[in-house]
């Protein structure tokens, strides 16, 4: 396989004629089976024509089927689609089951040239409740604050400074002293 055949057009997934929104339309319009009446390579195709082709055409009345016998060539199937695409496929030495499988594949396929889909999902309604952003459920206070702000400007995770530690210790001491005083007062009251 050459590298060139890997270079396929990239696109977002889509389907012809908005297929499936209200109805499903078979995209296959016409299918031509070219085969040989005598050679072994078209044996499977011949048995498919004998046993399964009538059923196939009855099931898919919207598809026109053509048979084109030609001497000493390997069998080929040409499928034409509603959008004008034309695909050739060689059925050389295919079994009857294989032929059946690939004929059904042509019927169900989109009919577009090979494409690489960017996503496997296409939507016209990407969001119903609104696209989330970091600000969606935030306090609207930020809208009216003036920057630089004294409290918002404080770094979130700053280590405690020595002065802060001292201040804390001092305040703890103060509290303890107050408590002791209170307790002392209560004691005195009890005594009295």
């Amino acid at each position: 396989m050459s590298n060139r055949s890997r270079l396929v057009p990239i696109d977002f997934p889509r389907v012809p004629l908005k297929n499936g929104v209200s109805r499903v339309i078979c995209q296959l319009k016409r299918i031509t089976i070219k085969f040989c009446k005598s050679s072994g390579a078209s044996y499977g195709v011949r048995s498919f024509i004998e046993h399964d082709l009538l059923d196939y055409s009855r099931k898919n009345p919207e598809v026109a089927i053509y048979l084109k016998p030609r001497r000493h060539h390997s069998p080929v199937v040409v499928s034409e689609y509603l959008n004008g695409e034309k695909h050739y496929m060689n059925y050389h030495n295919f079994t009857r089951d294989n032929v059946d499988k690939w004929m059904n594949f042509h019927r169900t396929s989109v009919g577009w040239p090979k494409k690489k889909w960017r996503k496997l999902h296409y939507t016209r309604t990407p969001s119903v409740q609104g696209v989330w952003s970091p600000f969606t459920n935030m306090d609207p206070r930020l809208n009216i604050t003036k920057f630089p702000d004294k409290y918002l400007g404080i770094p979130l995770h700053s280590p405690e400074t020595a002065t802060e530690k001292l201040r804390e210790m001092f305040e703890k001491q103060k509290l303890n002293e107050e408590n002791e005083e209170k307790v002392g007062k209560v004691k005195i009251e009890v005594q009295s």
Binding site: M1, S5, R6, V8, P13, R14, V15, N19, G20, V21, V24, Q27, F105, R107, T108, S109, V110, K114, K115, K116, W117, L120, H121, Y122, T123, R124, T125, V128, Q129
Partner: protein
């Protein structure tokens, strides 16, 4: 050396070696008696997943929740507008809305033209409400339907397999099967929190 018994892990508080020495005379051999002796200990430490149901205890709470449910019911009954749903399909979750196109990258049984009803709906949301299933919503509350429209093959992918220092590498060219699904309807039926509709129907 840290020893780990077969099958399950020991709680953090007990050092495995200490129990081993106490129960089994042999140095590093495990026996069923050891496992049996300690099952009760292990069970005590296992956390079973439970679901808390918060019931409205006060009258005010009951009124508030009723007001919310009535609002949602009213919204659904009048005009729910555009809805979205999260469905589970082939072990994957998709967030879908009406007329969406889903491509499923695998061989899937339903044929082209088949109409499907997706029954594993995990969540449904509108512009003003969201219904969350536990884990799925009851079948008669929500209906999500879709149609299979095409079955095709992907572009040719490269599948490269390589084992270091073993002289094995393989390059395969693969075209996966693609099933195109069109989502047709996402509907919520009125009367949420009604015991008749919210009960799970089992076939």
């Amino acid at each position: 050396m840290f020893l780990k018994p077969f099958g399950f892990t020991l709680p953090r508080s007990i050092h495995p070696k200490s129990i081993l020495q106490a129960v089994i005379p042999g140095k590093y051999s495990f026996s069923t008696s050891y496992l049996l002796a300690n099952t009760s200990l292990l069970q005590r430490n296992q956390h079973t997943a439970t679901q808390d149901v918060l019931e409205d205890s006060t009258e005010a709470d009951k009124l508030a929740s009723k007001a919310i449910i009535d609002k949602v019911n009213n919204h659904i009954a009048t005009d729910p507008g555009r809805l979205f749903a999260i469905i589970k399909l082939n072990a994957k979750q998709y967030k879908i809305a009406e007329n969406d196109l889903l491509l499923i990258e695998r061989n899937w049984a339903p044929e082209v033209g088949d109409k499907l009803t997706f029954e594993k709906v995990l969540l449904v949301g509108g512009s003003s409400f969201t219904l969350i299933g536990r884990p799925i919503l009851p079948r008669n509350l929500v209906t999500v339907t879709g149609t299979i429209i095409h079955k095709d093959l992907t572009h040719t992918k490269l599948r490269y397999y390589f084992v270091r220092k073993k002289r094995t590498h393989r390059l395969n060219f693969v075209r996966e099967e693609l099933t195109y699904v069109r989502i047709n309807t996402v509907q919520v039926h009125p009367e949420i929190n009604d015991p008749n509709t919210t009960e799970y129907l089992r076939a």
